[in-house]
């Protein structure tokens, strides 16, 4: 019976934390759509949405309600099961990644020590990679099930793009793993808290990771999968109502999560300041955990802004440019970065 002795308090704690994290990701993604429109407007010398509610803050709700009330159309020639599975999968995989990200340091609540991380898996970063790659199935299945040439084209583009950029991303990450010697995200953050942020050790690696993250999120300049002007929306041409909303929303959640991953891997996660020991402030553990989580969110927001900034600056790549950049530039660069890192580590150990 020992096997069945479940720590119900732990289960409850994790369930509550999961609910909180998912709510936060959804709300952040909701307001990212608003932020996106605002940033786009500012960059184009406009004001952006400012009518719904104070400062236009209710705009995302209005957009959501609009999506909700749109007519639900499932094409007769489509595969219904897969057609519904596509957006659901995109949404689920987008949410799954948040499980292994350390959102903050340990906090103490009701006499319990609570880790602000849903699961500190020792292969955390591999899990992230696995789930993110699964995300493309949502797009592929949806585009296939639509039974539309343009959708299928978009799905194929998304698949080949993600395969190409996953390689460079993985290679840039290997160099990082050589330094940290751990796959656990929690462990990586702790190392960065004590030492340097990985960005200062791996600037080239970070750059490659950033570019690949853009490609993985299907964001401009890599949004060939949904190229409006060639593919009439690409993989979501046939979708309407909330299923379309799911696809669009999944993109924003993906952006949020990949920003969180980048902040965790290269910018010290919930570490507040680089090269500085925050314990010197002598604040209580709870307050430090809160400040740390806030610091992580600031970093995430900065990355999200960069995502949007780039989107409204650069036009879409041509497909051959995309493939050339991935295979002929980023992969050699990542390999070079990996070799240099390995050589330096070897040299320092001697």
């Amino acid at each position: 019976m020992i096997l069945l002795a479940v720590d119900w308090a732990l289960v409850l704690e994790k369930l509550i934390f999961i609910a909180v994290i998912i709510t936060i990701s959804l709300v952040v993604a909701l307001y990212m759509t608003f932020g996106e429109r605002k940033v786009a407007a500012w960059i184009q010398d406009r004001i952006g949405p400012n009518r719904a509610g104070p400062l236009g803050l209710l705009q995302p709700l209005a957009d959501g309600v609009k999506m909700f009330f749109k007519e639900e159309i499932i094409p007769t020639s489509s595969n219904k099961v897969l057609f519904i599975l596509g957006p659901s999968l995109a949404m689920i995989t987008a949410m799954l990644t948040s499980a292994v990200i350390p959102w903050g340091d340990k906090a103490e609540l009701f006499g319990r020590t609570i880790t602000l991380q849903i699961a500190d898996v020792n292969i955390g970063i591999l899990y992230v990679f696995g789930v993110v790659s699964l995300g493309v199935y949502g797009i592929m299945i949806g585009s296939w099930a639509s039974n539309n040439k343009f959708s299928l084209m978009g799905g194929l583009r998304a698949a080949s793009q993600i395969i190409s950029y996953e390689l460079a991303m993985g290679l840039s990450l290997i160099a990082l793993l050589m330094i940290t010697g751990s796959l656990s995200l929690g462990e990586m953050v702790k190392q960065q808290q004590e030492g340097w942020w990985n960005f200062f050790l791996q600037p080239l690696g970070f750059f490659i990771f950033l570019v690949c993250a853009f490609a993985e999120c299907n964001r401009t300049p890599f949004d060939l999968a949904e190229a409006e002007n060639e593919l009439i929306g690409g993989y979501h041409s046939e979708y309407s109502s909330l299923k379309l909303g799911f696809y669009l929303f999944a993109e924003y959640i993906n952006m949020f999560i990949s920003s969180a991953v980048m902040a965790t891997l290269y910018f010290g996660g919930y570490d507040i300041l680089p090269f500085y020991d925050e314990t010197a402030w002598g604040l209580s553990a709870n307050l430090m955990a809160l400040l740390g989580a806030a610091a992580l969110f600031v970093k995430i927001l900065v990355f999200i802004f960069i995502f949007m900034w780039v989107r409204w600056t650069i036009p879409r790549f041509r497909y051959d440019q995309l493939m050339n950049l991935g295979w002929k530039k980023l992969i050699p660069l990542a390999l070079f970065n990996m070799l240099v890192t390995a050589a330096v580590i070897l040299f320092l150990k001697k």
Partner: protein, 187 residues
């Protein structure tokens, strides 16, 4: 052979590594877009703010009254004759005894209609009027559901009565004076 000195030599060298990796160009572009974030916005928040009209802007018409509230229009028909779009129609009537407080002269317009869908807002009616009766304002014709509602009658155009609504009357008069001043400046 050189025809003009505007010809530019195009650089057709193959891209170097920095150009192939796109990053310098991307960063330059991002610099430009970032500077635009802080630039003055071109937007005019319409219902609250309006774009200033040109001094000669020509919008909807109004029919003038004098200081005692009597209508200026004598239904002479010069505006209708001047109108290139044939948007103006009117019926003349004779002023009866006891109506002196309503109409300034012994003839008046019993019906005065402008079809705002026909009207091209050229302002020739304003120029043609010898009686200081018709003026164009800085208002647009609002959108509507029926064609009939774009035919404006006297009830839509005659300015408020000085005794019934003195404030609105002085305001309308002020606008007319402004318009006259602007017109004289133009000449």
């Amino acid at each position: 052979m050189q025809l003009t000195n505007r010809a530019k030599q195009v650089d057709r060298r193959p891209l170097n590594f920095a150009e192939k990796i796109y990053l310098p160009a991307v960063l330059k572009g991002m610099g430009i877009t970032f500077s635009h974030i802080f630039k003055k916005k071109a937007t005019i928040k319409f219902p609250e703010e309006t774009r200033p009209f040109s001094p000669v802007f020509r919008g909807l018409h109004i029919l003038n009254r004098d200081e005692e509230g009597r209508e200026n229009c004598t239904a002479c028909g010069l505006c209708a004759v001047a109108c290139p779009a044939e948007a103006i129609t009117m019926d003349a009537a004779e002023r009866l005894p006891g109506e002196e407080h309503l109409y300034r002269e012994e003839k008046y317009a019993a019906k005065y209609e402008i079809n705002m869908l026909r009207c091209i807002f050229c302002g020739l009616c304003e120029e043609a009027c010898p009686k200081d009766a018709i003026y164009l304002t800085e208002t647009f014709a609002p959108a509507n559901y029926s064609r009939q509602s774009f035919i404006y009658g006297k009830e839509n155009m005659v300015i408020p009565h000085p005794k019934e609504n003195p404030e609105a009357f002085t305001k309308a008069k002020g606008l007319i004076d402004e318009r006259k001043a602007k017109a004289s400046q133009q000449q």
